[in-house]
């Protein structure tokens, strides 16, 4: 017993039919002889070879004669292969490789889907030339199965669905389902839609227009009882869109809209609906009839008559499609009636007829609609006018009475179209030709369809001005130049109303203009008109001044005040004076008038640091100290006059802050040194100002900066008024050179000594003695207990000495508490008294 059994059904399905269709049996001998692939028992093989071999001549299979003959002819070689273990193993390997290829093909077809529909399994079996069982086995091996999808409504796009989608997009709504939810969804009533349309009646926005149209479409579907069908189409189209990305996407989308599916009676199992939609998308290639696609395209293009013809040409339309055909016939009849109405209106109310044609055009593509609109031309603008303004022509017109459609205007000048479609009522002709009468025509346009006639303007003539006018003032004349505009023959130039001599068509040279004054010139272009007359433009005014020669500064005086330059000069009648600091090593510039920029190249401008004014400047040079050359430059317009340079030396500047301080018989002098100065001369003279640093009547002291900083300057002087002067000093080529002398006056005093001594060894009396000097002053002796009297009134007066008296005796009163301090004061301001022994001025007892 081998256990092998002959399966007649398998033999027919898996062997005879494929061989009959052209399958080569030596591709899989295990299949031909109904053997398992892993068979190794020779007995089993022999049994199968014998039994199947007998069937090749069995009269029951005479219907498969061609197949049985092929099989019979290969039986001997097949037996040799299957009975030889080595050849059988090699053959098994080839068969296994073929089955793996089949599994891969089926898996690819299944994709991420859960199953394949039976029709597809059969199709794969035919296409791959393998038995259906082999396909199913490969399918199950890949995790799939064979399953029939649920029934879905036909994927027919409702009439005007594409238009509705556009309006929903305009309203930023994802779906009609969502839009209708506030109105009741599938239970939406006509009354709710009408109420909404009433609300939108006053609105004029693009959104309101889109919503109004959408409501009208919904009302139409509702009236035809097809609203639920439209909503079903919408949700299935949505799932179909997702199915394009695979079954998983479709299944996910179906779960999201499960409520909608149930509400629309599309099944309670979202997965089943998703599988059906996926199958329709994945395996429906070629399933949809060609005529349905033609119908859909015609509806989308508003070729409703073509769409109807497509349906009428189908011999056996399904019931649903028949209903759609009838509906379309009724709709077209209604549109034809509207066409006729509009045609009739053309004679009485063109705008109403045009509006009707435009409405029809939105739903129906028809030559009669286009022809009707062509006949309904808009009215032209009632009037138009043109004005010349700044060399351009401004055209304005009143709006046309046409209201239907998009109204615009076309403006032409002669044969030239200036603007094809202008919405506003004004147009500027930017470059009109000069000296030519210009007439402008304005046509109204309705969606590009022009009015039968145009509004015309009165003729205007443009006289353009000269171009690129430039004036320049030189020292000898004012010159001007320009370009003539197209059509101009020349130009006329006037100054103060009088013609300017020396003018030519593109320029002039006015040598009679007064120098230094500003002049206005009027330049007008000259034209010859078509009638032979001469005309002038309004003219362009430009100003210019003839350049005046600047006057040089010749009396510049400059010096230093600390580290600032102080300069004075006689201001010239016109122009600004600039001071330039020459660069070290540069030659002195030649005096004369040169271009201003060239004069400024000769040096660095002196930076102003303080208030100046005409004829004066306070500024700072590039580097403090040292010697510098400063040049005055008078700048007037583009010219500059170089003046007489002066040399300034900071070391030769005046000392500043000179101060005298009297210390008894000496006077201390302090001052601030100019930058870089290293030596100074001090000059002093009694009762009179020194005439200069070398005044022979004055005393002098030469001081170095080092000596000043170390020991200062203190000068002993006799009593009386003295004038002190200080100036900087330096040696040039061995000769002393002094700076400006700065003077101060100081009064010196005479110091006389005085002493207080006991008149005798045991005497209480004391003697005051004033010593020295040609004449003693009037003196008062003051006493004070505890501390020294600080002035003549600070204590008790014990003694007075008349002027000229040298000594006198006095007694310190007992009632004054000891110690008593004595002090003598001079009542003459020019004399001070100095005690010889301060200790003697303290009376401790007695």
């Amino acid at each position: 017993m081998t256990g092998w059994r002959f399966d007649a059904a398998r033999f027919v399905d898996e062997v005879l039919k494929p061989v009959q269709d052209g399958w080569r049996p030596d591709e899989d001998l295990f299949r031909v002889y109904l053997l398992p692939l892993d068979v190794s028992d020779t007995g089993t093989v022999r049994a199968a070879l014998d039994e199947v071999g007998r069937r090749f001549t069995d009269q029951r299979y005479r219907g498969f004669r061609r197949a049985t003959e092929v099989l019979r002819g290969r039986h001997e070689s097949a037996s040799g292969t299957l009975l030889d273990p080595a050849r059988r193993a090699a053959h098994r390997a080839r068969v296994e490789a073929g089955r793996r290829r089949l599994a891969a093909a089926v898996r690819a077809r299944l994709g991420d889907g859960p199953a394949l529909p039976p029709r597809e399994v059969a199709a794969q079996s035919r296409a791959l030339k393998v038995p259906r069982g082999a396909v199913l086995a490969a399918l199950r091996e890949g995790g799939g199965d064979e399953r029939e999808p649920v029934e879905l409504p036909p994927a027919v796009e409702p009439v005007q669905w594409g238009e509705a989608r556009g309006h929903l997009a305009q309203l930023r709504r994802d779906s009609l389902w969502d839009y209708l939810a506030p109105f009741g969804g599938t239970a939406t009533a006509e009354r709710a839609l009408a109420a909404r349309r009433e609300e939108l009646r006053a609105a004029r926005s693009a959104d309101s227009a889109a919503e109004t149209t959408l409501l009208r479409l919904v009302q139409g579907w509702l009236a035809a009882g097809d609203l639920v069908g439209v909503l079903r189409h919408e949700v299935l189209a949505h799932l179909a869109d997702r199915a394009a990305y695979g079954y998983a996407d479709a299944a996910g989308a179906a779960r999201e809209v499960a409520d909608r599916l149930r509400a629309l009676d599309l099944g309670g199992d979202p997965a089943a609906v998703a599988y059906a939609v996926w199958c329709r998308h994945a395996f429906a290639g070629g399933a949809e009839p060609e005529w349905q696609r033609h119908y859909q395209h015609a509806v989308r293009d508003r070729r409703l008559r073509t769409a109807l013809t497509v349906l009428q040409q189908q011999p056996s339309l399904p019931a649903e499609w028949a209903g759609r055909r009838d509906e379309l016939e009724r709709r077209l009849a209604g549109l034809d009636e509207e066409l006729e109405r509009c045609r009739a209106l053309e004679a009485t109310d063109v705008e109403a007829a045009a509006a009707g044609y435009l409405d029809l055009g939105e739903v129906l593509a028809d030559d009669r609609v286009a022809a009707g609109l062509e006949r309904c031309r808009p009215a032209p603008p009632p009037s138009a006018r043109s004005v010349v303004r700044d060399g351009r022509v401004v055209v304005t017109w009143r709006p046309s009475g046409a209201t239907a459609g998009r109204i615009a205007y076309r403006v032409t000048r002669g044969d030239e179209v200036l603007a094809e479609a202008v919405a506003a009522g004004e147009l500027v002709d930017p470059s009109p030709p000069n000296a030519t009468p210009l007439v402008y025509e304005v046509h109204a346009l309705r969606d590009g369809n022009p009015s039968a006639s145009a509004a015309r303007t009165e003729p205007v003539v443009v006289l353009g001005e000269v171009l690129d006018l430039e004036l320049r003032g030189d020292t000898d004349a004012v010159t001007g130049r320009w370009r003539l505009p197209a059509g101009a023959l020349g130009a006329v130039v006037t100054r103060a109303g009088a013609p300017v001599a020396g003018a030519h068509p593109t320029g002039f040279t006015d040598r009679d203009a007064r120098p230094g004054a500003s002049h206005d010139y009027l330049v007008r272009a000259r034209y010859r008109l078509p009638d032979g007359s001469t005309a002038f433009s309004a003219g362009v005014v430009a100003g210019a001044a003839r350049q005046e020669a600047p006057v040089a500064v010749t009396d510049l005086v400059a010096g230093f005040d600390r580290d600032e330059l102080v300069a004075r000069w006689t201001p010239p009648p016109r122009g600004e004076v600039e001071l330039l600091e020459l660069r070290p090593g540069d030659d002195l510039p030649e005096p004369g008038v040169v271009p201003a920029h060239r004069a400024r190249e000769r040096g660095t401008p002196v930076r102003t640091t303080g208030p100046g004014g005409r004829g004066a400047l306070r500024g700072r040079l590039s580097a403090p100290g040292g010697r510098h050359t400063v040049v005055p430059v008078t700048v007037l317009g583009d010219l500059a006059a170089i003046g007489a340079p002066v040399e300034v030396d900071a070391r030769q500047g005046p000392v500043t802050g000179l101060r005298t301080c009297r210390f008894g018989p000496t006077v201390r002098l302090t001052w601030e040194w100019p930058e870089g100065a290293t030596a100074a001369r001090v000059v002093w003279r009694a009762s009179a100002e020194p005439t200069g640093p070398t005044d022979p009547e004055a005393s002098t002291l030469d001081v170095t900066r080092v000596g000043y900083d170390s020991r200062g300057v203190s000068i002993p002087v006799p009593e009386g008024d003295h004038w002190f002067g200080v100036c900087t000093a330096r040696s040039v080529d061995g000769a002393p050179v002094f700076g400006p002398l700065v003077l101060r006056r100081e009064t010196a005093t005479t110091a006389l000594r005085y002493s207080v001594r006991r008149a005798g060894p045991l005497s209480r009396r004391r003697t005051l003695r004033v010593e020295g000097g040609p004449r003693s002053p009037e003196v008062v002796l003051v006493a004070k207990s505890g501390v020294r009297p600080m002035d003549a009134a600070d204590g008790r007066v014990l003694l007075r000495l008349a002027g000229g008296d040298r000594d006198a005796e006095f007694v310190v009163p007992r009632e004054l508490p000891r110690p008593v301090h004595l002090r003598a004061f001079s009542l003459d301001d020019s004399v001070v008294l100095v005690p010889r022994r301060p200790d003697d001025l303290i009376v401790r007892k007695g």
Partner: protein
């Protein structure tokens, strides 16, 4: 036994206790040892030691000239902004190359040690005489340890039938922060410093006296110190380490200098000695000093506080008043001195008085 006070930590040591250190030949064995431990002029390792001696307490080098001449410490105190640093800075300049050097022929002043030279050039000479700006305020001893300014004043002393001898007087100046004196800050350091001083110069700032402030129209500062308070503080500080009864007057000579007298010119009569040049020409003129003393004393009695002199007289056995101006003219701003330069007046008088008391210069009219 001769003693030396360290100019850095103010501790007193016997000369023989000053430390020496081994020379370079001792290498890693180098150590410190007392001078008395020298063995025939050699260190414990038998090599010549380094020449410079060191303070056993703080370990800092002591200059030989300071040790051998018995350096004298002069303390400078005063309230904040009284001009102590300015006074010291100009004083050195005056002794080196100013009017004082002209009046004391042959005298020279040399800054001792690199620290003193660098510090004087950086903190005093450069701002005052090169950049024309005030010196910076002295930092409190709480923030940084005060560094002494040491200099040697050399006076030629003629001798009969023999060449003149040069007598060096090494002087150590300590510039204290005004805030340390006015407040109880950095007490220990300040007390040590004052205790070691052989003479004290106290600067009185007239601008911090209310009456004078109104008189001269000073409005620059708001926080002023009562000058009498500074004297009281000084007495308290000196008594901290003084020996003997509390009632005994202090023996340290005190020079009380009224500064900025250029501002006070209108309060001094034409016969005032503070409107005359100093008479200390080669000697200290005692008559001039007494005259100024009485003048300043009278001025303080009139313009400041009659109690001031009594307080000083009861606290110090020896004191003298002075009047001076370190700059000669007030600064034009907080950062710029008078452009006419630094022209001091009687700046040196307090130091000349102390030097005369030390016997370094002769006194006339005593």
């Amino acid at each position: 036994m001769a003693t030396t006070k360290c100019p850095y930590c103010w501790t007193a040591h016997r000369r023989a206790d000053l430390q020496l250190s081994c020379g370079e030949r001792c290498g890693d064995l180098a150590t410190r040892f007392r001078e008395r431990d020298l063995d025939k002029g050699r260190c414990p390792h038998g090599h010549p030691p380094r020449g410079r001696r060191m303070c056993p307490a703080c370990g800092r080098d002591l200059l030989r000239e300071y040790v051998d001449s018995g350096g004298r410490t002069i303390a400078v105190i005063g309230s904040s902004d009284s001009g102590k640093s300015t006074w010291v800075g100009v004083l050195v300049h005056e002794f080196q190359r100013g009017d004082v050097s002209a009046r004391f022929a042959g005298m020279s002043l040399d800054l001792l040690g690199e620290n003193s030279r660098v510090r004087y050039a950086r903190d005093f000479a450069t701002p005052l005489f090169e950049e024309g700006r005030p010196v910076h305020q002295t930092p409190s001893a709480l923030r940084s340890a005060p560094e002494p300014l040491m200099f040697s004043l050399r006076f030629p002393r003629p001798r009969r039938l023999r060449p003149a001898r040069v007598v060096p007087v090494v002087t150590v100046f300590y510039d204290t922060a005004g805030e340390d004196v006015a407040r109880a800050q950095a007490m220990d350091q300040l007390i040590s410093y004052l205790d070691a001083a052989e003479g004290i110069v106290m600067l009185l700032d007239p601008v911090q006296m209310p009456e004078v402030r109104d008189l001269v129209g000073a409005t620059a500062r708001t926080g002023f110190t009562d000058q009498l308070h500074v004297v009281n503080r000084l007495g308290e500080l000196l008594r901290e380490r003084a020996r003997g009864p509390v009632g005994r007057r202090l023996r340290t000579p005190l020079a009380i200098a009224l500064t900025k007298v250029d501002l006070l010119r209108d309060t001094l009569g034409p016969g005032s000695p503070l409107r005359r040049p100093s008479r200390h020409d080669g000697v200290y003129d005692e008559e001039d000093g007494r005259d100024v003393h009485e003048e300043v004393r009278g001025w303080l009695d009139r313009w400041y506080d009659p109690a001031f002199d009594r307080t000083v007289a009861n606290a110090f056995q020896t004191y003298r008043y002075f009047g001076l101006s370190a700059l000669g003219a007030p600064p034009v701003s907080g950062t710029r001195l008078s452009p006419a330069g630094v022209h001091p007046y009687r700046l040196e008088d307090p130091v000349l008085w102390l030097l005369a008391r030390f016997g370094a210069i002769r006194t006339r009219g005593k």
